[in-house]
């Protein structure tokens, strides 16, 4: 996928570095992208290879082996590198499997809200007029609803499970997608290639999908990262309030919530998943910021 802004290769001198080389230098010269990218990639690998990495089954409990501190603590044990939780489950294994759940929530909630938000935003931006007004109105309504409260209420009514949490978050977080895709679509509505496509008789859907969407993808990728981070944090908050992912699933948010009881005397129980969550969200945000800097050079100082 090309992320380079429009100047076409032909207009440059032959001696100049190729666009992909420029991109490469940009990417690797950009601290945020490198750090963010490797964090996200690392967590992704961790999640994918969970069965290989995790030393134990994350669900198997042994309550005679509970609350063993991690290896660096005085009473740590090599059997459990990050110790065990309140039910004697291996904390490292739960953390590794938890990566799957947190990533799953982030990715799917963000994708679902992206689908909704982009559909609305592009429609509004492309057609304008009353459709635009109606969709703007929808966005205002969505923004006026307090997210955490509505999510809690809906989850409470429909029963909390991983799928429900993802769907509820997906249904709530589309506003930024809509706003951004609407603005981007409006800018491009009269662009040459859109007009050209319309002129050769392409259907509206086709114009939107094959001409419009690819060209507004960059800002949307940035939004996608933001919303992914947002969804992960929100799930943590929901779990903290007892209405997120339900035990025994090890989401990182739930692990913090469960560890809260021990935070005064065994702070690592809440520190470890807290740091994991912080790192992942930070990585996603850095990646998003980096993509924005790369693709929208006018925003750089």
């Amino acid at each position: 996928m090309s992320s380079v802004p429009r100047p076409l290769p032909g207009t440059e001198t032959l001696l100049a570095p190729s666009p992909s080389a420029i991109l490469r230098t940009r990417i690797f010269g950009h601290g945020g992208i490198v750090i963010g990218g490797s964090v996200v990639l690392g967590v992704l690998l961790l999640a994918l290879a969970a069965p290989l990495i995790a030393p134990y089954d994350p669900y198997v409990q042994d309550i005679s082996q509970r609350m063993i501190p991690p290896i660096w603590a005085p009473k740590g044990s090599w059997l459990h590198l990050l110790g065990t939780d309140k039910l004697g489950r291996d904390y490292l294994s739960r953390l590794v499997y938890g990566a799957r759940i947190s990533l799953f929530i982030g990715a799917f909630a963000s994708a679902l809200s992206g689908l909704i938000g982009c559909a609305l935003g592009v429609t509004a931006g492309y057609f304008g007029g009353r459709i635009d007004a109606a969709i703007t109105y929808l966005v205002t309504i969505r923004l006026s609803l307090p997210v955490v409260l509505v999510a809690l209420a809906v989850v409470a009514l429909s029963g909390s499970s991983l799928e429900i949490v993802v769907i509820v978050l997906g249904l709530l977080l589309w506003d930024r997608y809509a706003v951004v895709s609407r603005a981007a679509t409006r800018q491009l509505r009269h662009a040459e290639y859109i007009v050209a496509a319309q002129a050769v008789g392409a259907s509206t859907l086709r114009v939107l999908l094959s001409e419009m969407l690819p060209n507004i993808l960059n800002p949307l990728i940035v939004v996608a990262t933001l919303e992914m981070a947002h969804a992960i944090l929100l799930e943590a908050a929901l779990s903290f309030l007892g209405l997120g992912v339900q035990p025994p699933l090890p989401s990182w948010g739930l692990m913090i919530a469960e560890g809260k009881e021990y935070m005064f005397f065994s702070p690592w129980v809440i520190t470890i998943p807290g740091i994991a969550l912080f790192t992942l969200v930070l990585g996603i945000n850095l990646l998003g910021d980096g993509v924005r800097d790369l693709t929208a050079p006018e925003n750089r100082n």
Partner: protein
């Protein structure tokens, strides 16, 4: 200007109306009201009687109409759990949430505005970088986690501030910091970009060229113009904070609106939840309406969109 006002007001009312439909639906979805009101040991005859008494046998739109008119007069019916009117419950909790939201916003502004301005005046300086680190870190931390850490450090270890409750202004410091910090990055970034844009613009250069003093230029011209988008954002953020205070209120055991909502959700007490959703939404709608007015006043160009 009047037309602009009316248009905005109309939009605000329309949004509020739609939200009220949503809030109404929330309670209807929570189960059969007559059964809940009648209590677990009621016979089906008693339930039917209550259904008629409360008008729950009428068509939904009539019930909605009825409910809406009551809600408009702050009559939200009775709590299923407490033997009390929902409006009374909420009146007791609202000041806590408003104070918390206000203080959190004050904290966010006190941190974000100076940092954002300085970061814009001296891009790439250490302050700019510090601002960047703060904003990136702020967005990556779950609020409840940050709240717990603040409680642990300043409440339990250092004992500078009380741990929970709402007794004095000191009780509000930690929660306001935890809540406000999350809003800081957005305000700071917008202040910074706004200032950068304005500072790079022609009229600032002209003003400087005319030999006006730097801080006059900065405060009188640059800041005023850079603030236009920030005002809108601040209103939005305050709305979010009131809605998002639920987590912080839970951490610090503050008996505010969000906390009441959370408890009520767990108790299946949906008349309370419904009222709180509606009130928070109306607050938000009111805030963006105010922001629109403020913006129009700050930047006359916006009056004719």
């Amino acid at each position: 200007m009047i037309a602009f006002l009316l248009r905005r007001l109309g939009l605000a009312l329309a949004v509020a109306f739609t939200v009220s439909i949503f809030a109404f639906a929330l309670v209807r979805l929570s189960g059969d009201l007559a059964t809940t009101i009648a209590g677990p040991e009621a016979t089906s005859a008693q339930i039917e009687q209550i259904r008629i008494e409360y008008g729950l046998d009428r068509p939904l739109w009539q019930q909605f109409d009825d409910w809406l008119w009551h809600a408009a007069r702050f009559d939200f019916g009775r709590s299923f759990f407490f033997r009390e009117q929902v409006a009374n419950l909420i009146a007791g909790r609202l000041p806590v949430t408003l104070t918390l939201g206000g203080l959190a916003l004050a904290f966010a502004l006190a941190l974000a505005l100076p940092l954002g301005i300085v970061a814009a005046i001296r891009p790439n300086s250490w302050i700019d970088r510090l601002a960047l680190v703060l904003s990136v870190a702020g967005q990556a931390m779950p609020t409840f986690w940050f709240g717990l850490v603040l409680m642990l450090v300043f409440g339990v270890r250092l004992r500078w501030l009380p741990v929970s409750g709402t007794g004095t202004w000191r009780h509000f410091v930690l929660p306001a910091v935890a809540l406000g910090y999350y809003a800081t990055p957005a305000i700071m970034r917008l202040t910074r970009t706004g200032m950068l844009d304005v500072l790079g613009s022609d009229y600032i250069r002209t003003a400087r060229a005319k030999g006006l003093r730097w801080h006059t230029v900065l405060l009188k011209h640059a800041l005023r113009n850079a603030m236009v988008p920030v005002v809108a954002l601040v209103a939005v953020q305050l709305g979010f904070m009131l809605g998002g205070s639920i987590v912080i209120e839970a951490v610090f055991a503050m008996h505010g609106l969000g906390y009441l909502a959370w408890e009520s959700i767990q108790r299946n007490d949906f008349p309370v939840v419904q009222a709180i959703v509606l009130i928070l939404a109306v607050f938000y709608i009111g805030l963006i309406f105010l922001a629109d007015l403020l913006n129009a006043w700050l930047d006359p160009r916006l009056r004719t969109p």
